[in-house]
Symmetry: C2
Subunit: 338 residues, 2 copies
DNA sequence: ACTTTCAATGTAAGCGCTTACATATTTAAT
DNA sequence: ATTAAATATGTAAGCGCTTACATTGAAAGT
């Protein structure tokens, strides 16, 4: 007996006493074949556990029923929640998803994009390192349906689904204007578009009396953790009622945790406002006040739009800005703390 | 100009004034072609941003450089951490990973497995719903290199990388023997092999005086949350110094969070011991005492072994049991609580 | 100068499928 | 019964690559 996986449609055809075309037809389920022969073929397929070769199918022209998804990090709940949203939609439509992570590296992103293109996915969902990255240009050039996630793109020809980051920044500023503190420290990580937008909304709204300190390059949970001793030794937060606006919940959680360990009182001494509202944020050491944008929704909407685009490529490119809201939890509360 | 993506090796060959074979040779980089023609071809490829069709390449026999990964849940940090480990290894070897989630559904798992097989991945990594699931049997039958994750399989012909779950259960029991409590409640979710093993190690070691209550089917974070009021109203934990052994950190975190909200004192009134040590566990409302097994390591080792298996399919099937250790944090501390 | 080698390239046969078109078989219409 | 129409199936031409084998041309050996 032939090794499973090396069996071809021709083998099945022979055993069933029909042509390959007929087998192909029962496989595709669409074309009509006499019920009796269909079951005969099906039986043979079952008997030998034959599995058609997707590569050959794809090459020969049948749709791959696969879409590619590129996110920036696997280890970041932010992106995982997006992927979950995508997955939940694709599953219903019987599409499968090819998920990979760029690790915030443009080159890697481009490689992944190429690879997706060359494996003939029907569409791609990408959370690009930069809205103007080569990957996005390549995708556009390629003519394949695609939707950008977590970025807004100028070009009206590209579809995107993003949180309204400007608005998110404004929300935080409004909160701070309402609940004044003596000092504000901004903590950001990757210099991503979404972050700049958050900041610009923030600064445009914030009382001009504030002169926030800005610390950059704090990217991971651990970075946040490690930052705290620095803040403490430099006396940045010890003496003054400070608010930390951290543009990434992962980092915010890391910082919060360490602050608690170091005995800093939250929210009395220091208040913390994060961004994203990842699932974990509600359950961290001190439940996090943060700007909430449903990542699952971003993923879901992006997937739905992509599927539409695949069905009708001439369709207008949808552009979504999901409205964020500020979720007040314990790390920064509404009553002015003095 | 032809649409990007529809350009073929023949087009390139024509423009470069060579045969398709030569183009193919410069693409594969292995075979020798005169430097001058190589650069000429490369230039044309560059100029037209030609991307070879992976389907065709695969069909024609070149390795796909792709491995399939099936996990049970996307929304569970446990599995994501495994995937991260896998990804970190594959990246170096220039393999790409096709990640998908079975959602604990055997049928879906089987479908995914079939799909991987039919797309000619070079190997697969699977965290099966059940060590004896049809998927595993199919994989074995197919002859494709694969390694099972998070399960130990009897069959010496299948490779696996799993935590030593028995030992993990023992660790918890030993802790409880050392730090006696008045009552133990066991909380489990999916009836997965790993859980049974944890329990059997646990029961075999636990002082026989204990008569634990066992609550099943608590699967998610939210389930954990919702369970608390029940425990409270039934007076299961209000009056007695209780320990909750929760075989899944997600659930443990959900429970902990809710207990804190309900004003239950942890670890004085109730202590909680989880399992897995997902990243979040150290930073939850009450940092979780839990059995730690490095999921990243499981992923890494599994990926390395798979790569080896791909290189040498006759190789003996490795079988790893990662040793767990108990990490004491605040939700259950070593000093007997009375 | 002539054969032998070897490097560089071309030719063409697949890889396993789908599908337009041709052919055979059945059913309906007259 | 005879022909037209409809249905079921077969034939074979690709899909875009890789690669064994054939061919060419030049360097090397005598």
């Amino acid at each position: 007996m032939k090794q499973l996986g090396s069996m071809t449609i021709a083998d099945i055809a022979k055993k069933a006493g029909v042509s390959t075309a007929t087998v192909s037809r029962v496989l595709s389920e669409s074309d009509k074949v006499k019920p009796s022969t269909r079951t005969r073929v099906l039986d043979i397929i079952e008997e030998y556990s034959y599995i058609p070769n997707q590569l050959a199918q794809g090459l020969a022209g049948s749709p791959t029923k696969t879409i590619g998804v590129i996110i920036d990090e696997l280890s970041n709940h932010f992106f995982i929640e997006i992927a979950e949203g995508v997955d939940s939609i694709l599953q219903n439509e019987n599409y499968s998803m090819q998920l990979s992570s760029s690790r915030w590296i443009g080159d890697r992103e481009l490689r992944l994009t190429r690879s997706l293109l060359s494996s003939r996915v029907e569409g791609v969902l990408i959370a690009p390192v930069d809205p103007d990255s080569p990957s996005v240009r390549l995708l556009k050039k390629s003519g394949i349906p695609f939707v950008v996630m977590n970025c807004s793109v100028e070009d009206p020809d590209v579809a995107y689904v993003s949180g309204n980051n400007r608005r998110g920044g404004e929300l935080v500023a409004e909160f701070l204007n309402r609940n004044p503190r003596e000092q504000i420290i901004l903590i950001t990580g990757f210099p991503h578009q979404s972050v700049s937008e958050r900041l610009s909304g923030f600064f445009d709204t914030l009382d001009s009396a504030y002169k926030p300190i800005h610390i950059r390059g704090v990217k991971t949970f651990e970075d946040g953790h490690d930052l705290v001793p620095l803040l403490l030794t430099r006396n940045l937060i010890a003496k003054i009622k400070t608010t930390l606006f951290v543009t990434n919940d992962n980092v915010a959680i890391g910082i919060t945790d360490r602050l608690v360990r170091e005995g800093v009182a939250i929210p009395d001494q220091v208040t913390i406002i994060g961004y994203d509202d990842i699932r974990m944020s509600a359950f961290s050491r001190v439940p996090l006040t943060t700007v909430s944008q449903s990542m699952r929704d971003i993923g879901r909407i992006a997937a739905m739009e992509l599927l539409d685009l695949i069905k009708d490529p001439k369709k207008e490119r949808p552009r979504h800005n999901i409205e964020p809201r500020l979720v007040i939890r314990e790390s920064a509360v509404e009553a002015p703390s003095r």
